[in-house]
């Protein structure tokens, strides 16, 4: 058979076990609970991306002058660039702590499909960085005089955008585990350009009240394709660090 000689993680695990038994979802729940408890005990994990986001937002009025017309025309781009960079900031912490204290090995040793467990780590990263940024973005929109009726499209586009960034960031973190954090940024940024373009056009379209649903659907499609593809590749990238 064509894939005879391969030993890809997804292919080597006996597929007959791939019936979504409760054990995988329970494990997913346990990982989410454990990491959320750890995250809330060390509150800096979800504060730093938030503060970084707000600082970058306040830089623009300081640098470009506080005129309302200028700021409200720049607002979509500024909010999106700040959200993108802030969610990239915390990418380093997705796998490094688990890899250091050895609990990452269980993902690959168990018979459960490990890319679902990697997806759990991505969800944790989104909950810790993506969600606070989403909440802070309404504050940022107020600061940058973004008209009120384009708040909802901004929140929707950021919801899809930050989750795609967490996925992409997880792959970047897996590839540059143990190396400098800037490497994972350099790897991930070129691939996040479509998300940035579509996210900003959602908000600009809603500014001059055109129909922006096309871009949202496109971002949703990218997320739908991204989750299986990127999680599988992240598993292979993580397995690289064990040699």
């Amino acid at each position: 058979m064509l894939l005879q000689g391969t030993d890809l993680q997804i292919l080597t695990q006996p597929l007959l076990r791939f019936d979504m038994k409760s054990s995988v979802l329970d494990w997913l729940g346990i990982i989410l609970k454990r990491d959320l408890i750890i995250a809330f005990r060390r509150s800096s994990t979800y504060i730093t991306p938030l503060v970084f986001f707000l600082i970058v937002i306040t830089f623009f009025p300081l640098a470009l002058g506080p005129q309302e017309s200028l700021l409200s025309s720049l607002a979509p781009g500024v909010i999106w660039i700040a959200a993108l960079l802030a969610s990239l900031l915390a990418v380093e912490s997705i796998f490094s702590e688990d890899f250091r204290d050895g609990s990452l090995d269980d993902f690959f040793i168990s018979l459960e499909p490990s890319f679902i467990l990697v997806f759990a780590k991505v969800m944790i990263h989104w909950l810790i960085t993506g969600l606070p940024i989403l909440i802070a973005s309404s504050l940022a929109a107020i600061i940058l005089y973004l008209p009120l009726e384009s708040f909802v499209p901004m929140i929707l586009s950021l919801l899809l955008g930050t989750s795609f960034m967490s996925l992409l960031g997880a792959l970047g973190a897996a590839l540059s585990l143990g190396k400098s954090a800037i490497l994972s940024a350099i790897i991930v940024l070129p691939f996040s350009i479509p998300t940035l373009l579509m996210g900003t056009s959602v908000v600009t379209f809603s500014l001059n009240n055109q129909d922006y649903s096309g871009f949202l659907m496109m971002m949703g499609a990218m997320l739908a394709i991204g989750i299986p593809l990127l999680c599988l590749l992240t598993v292979e990238a993580l397995l690289l660090n064990y040699d």
């Binding site: 346990i30 609970k33 408890i37 204290d101 050895g102 090995d105 269980d106 690959f108 040793i109 018979l111």
Partner: protein, 199 residues
């Protein structure tokens, strides 16, 4: 009695240096296996290769599956504990055991029983301010959470005081009675009844 794991002429070459050459061994239920070697002699690589974390170039690794024939893919869960014991410093002792997938569906006092067995009962502080010995005891308590056919433990006896190593030997014998076997690595034999393999 069929072995759970059968390895035939497994060898591993890293940067032109043969780390180990055609190893052959079997792990029978209830029997232990000890892999002795100096530092950097590939003990951890061997364990990870058995468990599929590392891609094996040559050699055959066969696992016994439900209907008693040998299959390349492992069909039962195993326990692996590397050098870092997988202890989360920001969790308390109890949480370190409760929030693991092995402890699924276990009640409070089951977990406390495991902790008591390892001498950590009623210690409920954060794992970060425990001594290394106590952290080792938490990782030993994890062995008792669920019964596995094979436990792969990487150097359990290093940096351990006598009381803890006796405890480990006790637990190993206890679990051997129940039919599970241990594959342990170390620098020198720790005289538990196990077949020895030199690397």
């Amino acid at each position: 009695m069929l072995p759970n794991l059968k390895v035939e002429n497994l060898s591993c070459v890293r940067s032109e240096k043969a780390i180990f050459k055609n190893l052959n061994f079997e792990v029978l239920p209830g029997q232990n296996l000890e892999i002795i070697g100096s530092n950097g002699s590939g003990k951890t690589t061997l364990l990870r290769m058995l468990l599929g974390l590392i891609n094996k170039e040559e050699g055959i690794i066969n696992w016994l599956d439900e209907d008693n024939n040998f299959n390349e893919y492992r069909s039962f869960d195993c326990f692996y504990q590397g050098h870092q014991m997988g202890i989360k410093n920001m969790l308390t002792v109890f949480e370190n055991l409760k929030l693991t997938h092995n402890a699924k569906g276990m009640s409070e006092e089951d977990i406390n029983k495991c902790l008591e067995r390892v001498g950590l009962y009623k210690i409920n502080e954060m794992a970060s301010d425990l001594s290394v010995g106590q952290k080792k005891r938490i990782s030993i308590a994890r062995w008792l959470l669920k019964d596995f056919k094979i436990y792969f433990i990487d150097e359990p006896f290093t940096a351990l005081d006598d009381s803890a190593s006796d405890l480990i030997k006790e637990i190993i014998n206890e679990l051997n009675q129940k039919g599970s076997s241990f594959v342990i690595t170390g620098h020198r034999s720790s005289n538990i009844n196990a077949t020895l393999i030199e690397i």
